[in-house]
């Protein structure tokens, strides 16, 4: 069995291709949004709650009078940014901690696992609510909170993968050769945990976007006036009977992004011979 090339991974199944396309579209929109939008997303440009279809505001305006299309296109930037930064940190640290804990064992491993168990006892949203209460709602606090929230789960999964590799012959051979601890971790263990780390990254990206939007919806995440899809849905609920599209459009955007991410990570996991379902938090 040889390792699949990137192309084979992407075209693994129709589902994967749909997922990758969705993600690609979203990435494009997010990257180019500042150039694409007709108006600045936080500026009041028209009457309050105007209907879509007018020439100036294609999708109308929101409840304060800002251009809806602009806000919609810019709505993903902050959450995607927060998700990417927090998950990158989380997965990097989790890889180092998880693999080293598995290899070194002993008290270090026990302490790490108790901390992991402790965090896992506190549900995600409550955990972040806790941190937000104490540290406020700034973007750095939110990013740190999300990273901390996903860190223990990732540690646990990466550690169990490392545990399956450590007893194998080639690791013992490296030990007998006298290779140093960092060298063994870097040359023998990490390369053989690559797959699970990649899948973890993909899966937690989608989870964290869900979390950020949910937090914004609840009022614990991104604060106005920054546009965010979750926030926009919360704002739109007040006019649920009359201006339903204010909710449905951002809902569609979040959903398509997360569906795309999940389809793509599912395909990634299957192509690498792993089980995606188990990795989801």
């Amino acid at each position: 069995m040889k390792y699949p090339s990137a192309f084979e991974v992407l075209t693994h199944s129709p589902g994967t291709m749909i997922g990758v396309t969705l993600v690609a579209v979203h990435v494009m929109v997010t990257l180019f949004a500042p150039v694409l939008i007709p108006f600045e997303e936080t500026k009041i440009v028209g009457p309050v709650l105007s209907s879509p279809g007018s020439v100036e505001n294609w999708l109308g305006t929101d409840n304060i009078g800002r251009d809806y299309l602009s806000r919609l296109l810019m709505g993903g930037r902050t959450s995607i940014f927060v998700a990417m930064v927090s998950i990158t940190f989380a997965v990097l640290i989790a890889s180092l901690v998880g693999i080293s804990a598995a290899y070194v064992g002993g008290i270090y491993d026990d302490v790490v696992m108790r901390i992991v168990d402790t965090k896992l006892a506190i549900p995600g949203i409550l955990f972040i609510a806790l941190i937000v209460t104490g540290f406020g709602r700034s973007i750095p606090a939110l990013t740190a909170a999300i990273a901390l929230s996903y860190l223990p789960g990732a540690i646990r999964i990466i550690r169990s993968q490392a545990l399956t590799i450590i007893p194998l012959g080639f690791v013992e051979t490296a030990k007998l050769r006298g290779d140093s601890l960092p060298r063994i971790i870097w040359k023998e263990l990490v390369p053989n945990c690559q797959e699970i780390i990649a899948v973890e990254f993909a899966l937690r990206m989608s989870s964290s976007i869900l979390t950020v939007s949910a937090l914004s919806f609840l009022g614990l995440g991104i604060s106005p006036p920054t546009p965010d899809w979750g926030l926009m849905i919360a704002e739109g609920v007040k006019n649920i009977h009359t201006h339903t599209w204010l909710i449905l459009l951002p809902a569609a955007f979040i959903s398509t992004l997360v569906i795309g991410l999940n389809l793509a990570s599912d395909g990634l996991a299957n192509a690498l011979g792993l089980d995606a379902a188990r990795g989801i938090n």
Binding site: R114, L120, I122, P123, L210, F217, A251, S255, A277
Partner: protein, 320 residues
């Protein structure tokens, strides 16, 4: 086997204690004490040092951290959760009814989710690769990809705006009788159930497929045992075990989901109390609710461990 139970219990108590320490640290030590968190910049502008110090002494916040922690923790163990800053109401009174309501909702969710997820998992796993499986599997991905609050809000749109069957907002009070709450809890429960069934059924499907491909199932089939018995007597207990091992995450997921749907539907539960407490910066309420949730997760995890011990006899003999 008794030793194993005692060991798990001890570990769980340890985790509970560590969780309490963490909850306390995160809210009352690291960012400053509870009063620092509670008072806004505006408050600080109007109050002078004397008043703030007096408030601190009133709430006992001038004592060292570990004393405060021990005070709080020992109080929690006997049910004394402290008082709110505003109006100094005992917290246990505030959260009693919401707790019951959330438990009700949680029970409804779990009772429906688990059996249905198992059935779907078995069906799609058995017919792997066939049309039913592909349709349901992809539908599942969609199901757990759409955020809970989106599903909830869309359900409101469908059932309260377009077809006025349900009330858009739950007009129920915290202390309404369970019967009334049950009726009103349908839509919120459904919201969480959809996402969780989608996710759990995929986990179960994976476990089921792996079990059905295992050597012992092959031998049982080659012994001429009918398929039905093979699935339910031999394969099912084995497939459920991996799911039980991540039961803590499932419970945590349900609790997080509860927070979200209670806000969406205005359901008078603990999640809603939590959000309000966060916005009012009522530190002690947030602590209490978070700690309670951790307790629930740990207890459910213990129960799941117990189930694994019952289902998997290999765990009972402790081998090195």
């Amino acid at each position: 086997m008794l030793w194993i139970l005692i060991r798990r219990l001890t570990l769980s108590l340890l985790i509970l204690f560590l969780a309490a320490v963490f909850v306390f640290l995160a809210t009352e030590v690291l960012p400053g004490d509870a009063l620092d968190v509670f008072l806004t910049a505006d408050d600080l502008a109007v109050m002078d040092e004397e008043e703030i110090e007096e408030m601190r002494r009133d709430f006992g916040l001038d004592r060292p951290a570990w004393v405060r922690f021990w005070d709080w923790f020992s109080g929690v163990l006997v049910g004394n959760l402290g008082k709110t800053f505003i109006h100094e109401v005992p917290i246990s009174e505030i959260i009693w009814h919401p707790l019951i309501n959330s438990v009700l909702l949680g029970v409804v969710i779990t009772v429906i989710t688990l059996p249905v997820a198992i059935l779907i998992g078995i069906l799609t796993g058995y017919r792997r690769g066939y049309r039913e499986d592909i349709i349901v599997s992809n539908a599942s991905i969609v199901g757990y990809s759409i955020p809970d609050f989106v599903i909830g809000t869309c359900l409101i749109i469908v059932f309260a705006v377009w077809m006025p069957l349900f009330p858009a907002v739950i007009i129920a009070f915290s202390d309404s009788p369970p019967g009334e709450l049950l009726a009103v809890s349908l839509l919120p429960a459904l919201t969480v159930i959809i996402g969780h069934i989608a996710h759990q059924s995929r986990l179960l499907r994976a476990g089921f497929i792996e079990t059905m491909n295992s050597e012992f199932v092959e031998r049982v089939r080659l012994s001429g045992i009918p398929e039905g018995r093979v699935i339910f007597r031999h394969a099912l207990p084995a497939s459920v075990i991996p799911t039980l091992n991540s039961f803590a995450m499932y419970t945590a997921g349900v609790l997080s989901g509860l927070v979200v749907v209670e806000k969406v539907f205005g359901y008078p539960g603990l999640g809603r109390e939590l959000i309000e407490a966060v916005s009012r910066r009522e530190v002690h309420v947030v602590q209490a609710i978070t700690f309670l949730s951790a307790t629930v997760v740990i207890v459910m995890n213990l129960l799941a461990d117990l189930a694994v011990i019952i289902l998997d006899p290999r765990v009972r003999s402790l081998k090195s």
